[in-house]
């Protein structure tokens, strides 16, 4: 699968972190290798590593230089990263309800116009996707998804919005996203989910993990209100699909 990727590179990120880069672009093979290396480090920890942060194309490894130096750690990471690692174990799968359009998805009409089609068709293409959580970042729980239908790839907004609502379901470039907290965004807002990917006093605090699979299904705005109340009360309203 990884035959087309160049060998992984070590990029120094200060004196206490190193980036293991598999690709410079968004690439599903690279992301799989990122997640496999992350899993491998969790399974057999290297003394001195304090935490690791998977992204689309690289794994950022934080470490204590008092315990292990850059050269020694780099050698071990490169050796692990270059190995053929076992594929990630069977991923969890979440079904996420989304209220599309209207006040919850203020860009749906414009996206349909830009792509010469109807809002219903955009929703169908978005719901039809089989997504993977490639990384979580920017703000707590913001899940970046790979697997967006090619026909929905479009550049980000010229003028990013300074605030977009909690639970926003959006697309930007080749990516789809589940946003948890209100935040600035330059992506196109298709809808909102009542699901909280991050909720402080809930167990688990974070719903999604890098590597999880995600599908969406449409709900009406009334159902959104009902589920939103349940979620606010701490219910885990995302449906986990047992494979």
């Amino acid at each position: 699968m990884a035959a087309t990727l160049p060998p992984p590179r070590l990029l120094p990120s200060g004196d206490s972190a190193v980036t293991v880069e598999f690709s410079r672009t968004i690439d599903d093979d690279a992301n799989q290798r990122v997640l496999a290396l992350d899993k491998a480090l969790a399974a057999s920890p290297i003394d001195g590593i304090t935490e690791s942060v998977p992204t689309y194309r690289s794994l950022l490894v934080h470490y204590d230089p008092g315990k292990i130096g850059f050269d020694a750690l780099g050698d071990r990471l490169l050796a692990l990263a270059s190995q053929k690692l076992p594929p990630a174990t069977k991923a969890r799968r979440w079904r996420i309800p989304v209220a599309y359009g209207g006040e919850h998805g203020i860009d749906l009409e414009d996206v349909a116009k830009a792509l010469n089609t109807t809002p219903d068709d955009i929703v169908a293409r978005h719901v039809g996707g089989d997504y993977k959580v490639a990384m979580i970042g920017f703000t707590p729980g913001w899940s970046y998804l790979s697997g967006l239908d090619k026909s929905l790839h479009m550049s980000r907004r010229q003028n990013p919005r300074l605030l977009t609502p909690a639970g926003t379901i959006s697309i930007g470039g080749v990516q789809a996203g589940i946003q948890c907290l209100a935040a600035p965004s330059g992506w196109h807002l298709l809808g909102r989910t009542p699901v909280r990917t991050y909720q402080l006093h809930r167990n688990p605090t974070f719903l999604t993990e890098p590597g999880d699979r995600v599908t969406f299904f449409a709900i009406d705005h009334k159902t959104f209100e009902e589920l939103d109340r349940a979620a606010e009360a701490g219910e885990l309203i995302a449906e986990q699909v047992v494979a």
Binding site: S13, H62, G69, G137, G141
Partner: protein
């Protein structure tokens, strides 16, 4: 239990500690004190763990009143005039406030952040092991927001331990040291040299998320959009306008601009304490030197208790006296809320 009441406080002041580790993979910002050495020094003076939760006081003044008993505190970090009812209190010392007494701190005289540690530490409900305020995520305890007048902490009654001062190493001046990378290959040699050889000023629109640097525009080789990857404290990213931003403790966990260099751990606090408008330069060091400095810095913090001295030997706040006639405060700096995050993603 005693109480310590925030009688007055300026913006950009909050409870901070060693930060929230282990959840960056979920997008959770680390936060924590901007100047870890000063946090550790203040805590060490009152017998706390070095990274226990304390009050991080922004560039403006603040005052704190003991209620329901005596409270022992210590101050370290950006120097200020401090007094209890007109009687001066020196930086880098502990002091006990009797019930009803107020410790008053002036503006930072250079630098930005001063730490007020409380004997027994600030108590609250930790999230991911930390009480640090991360206002964006609604985290922090006992207050998940910057401090306001009227806030109060339930604290241990003062132990009556003798007051101490701490002898810190002489402040280092000179350039802020960086290692190049992770994306220095997104810049040609001329632009790397421009970054390393130019004088920079901290913009007034800086905050705990990032310090914006004013100077020449740094040009990218292949444009300013990269696929988002992880950030660290001290990552220096270069957005489209070419004005670098040093990411600080409230940084996003990932970012989509090329990062030309990273500030070394040992110099992060010094960068954090550089006020707005102050000129600074960067200097490239190798990884071996950076890691050696990081280990020395960790050792300095571990060994802070060895630097404690009896405070009997100083009767006067020499610093306050010598600065009493200096006009004009360094206007910082770090004015929360003036600075818009680049809209990324």
């Amino acid at each position: 239990m005693s109480r310590l009441v925030v009688a007055s406080i300026g913006p950009a002041s909050s409870v901070q500690d060693g930060g929230r580790l282990g959840a960056q993979r979920y997008g959770l910002t680390v936060s924590g004190a901007m100047d870890r050495l000063s946090l550790a020094a203040a805590n060490t003076l009152v017998g706390n763990e070095p990274f226990a939760a304390a009050v991080e006081i922004g560039p403006f003044g603040a005052s704190f009143t003991a209620r329901d008993g005596a409270v022992r505190v210590a101050i370290a970090g950006a120097p200020r005039n401090a007094d209890i009812a007109g009687s001066p209190v020196a930086m880098d010392t502990s002091v006990t406030l009797k019930d009803g007494e107020t410790l008053t701190l002036g503006f930072a005289r250079g630098g930005a952040f001063t730490y007020l540690a409380i004997e027994g530490a600030i108590k609250g409900e930790p999230v991911f092991g930390s009480l640090a305020v991360n206002a964006r995520a609604g985290l922090g305890s006992p207050y998940p927001r910057p401090l306001q007048a009227g806030d109060e902490f339930s604290v241990d009654a003062a132990s009556g331990a003798p007051e101490l001062r701490i002898e810190l190493p002489k402040p280092v001046s000179g350039p802020i040291r960086v290692v190049l990378g992770p994306q220095d290959d997104e810049f040609d040699d001329a632009n790397k040299a421009l970054f390393l050889n130019s004088e920079w000023k901290i913009s007034a629109t800086s905050d705990r998320m990032g310090y914006r640097l004013e100077g020449p525009a740094i040009k990218h080789l292949h444009g300013h959009n990269i696929v988002s990857d992880g950030t660290v404290d001290g990552s220096i990213q270069v957005p489209g306008n070419g004005a670098p931003i040093a990411l600080m403790m409230d940084r996003g966990t990932s970012g989509g601009y090329p990062k030309i260099a990273t500030v070394i751990t040992a110099d992060l606090g010094r960068l954090a304490q550089t006020s707005a408008g102050t000129a600074l330069r960067f200097k490239q060091v190798g990884m071996a030197e950076a890691q050696d400095e990081a280990r020395k810095f960790a050792q300095l913090i571990r060994n802070l208790p060895d630097r404690l001295r009896s405070s009997d030997t100083i009767a006067l706040n020499i610093e306050a006296l010598s600065d009493a006639n200096v006009a004009g405060y360094a206007v910082s700096a770090v004015d929360a809320g003036t600075w818009q995050v680049a809209a990324e993603p």
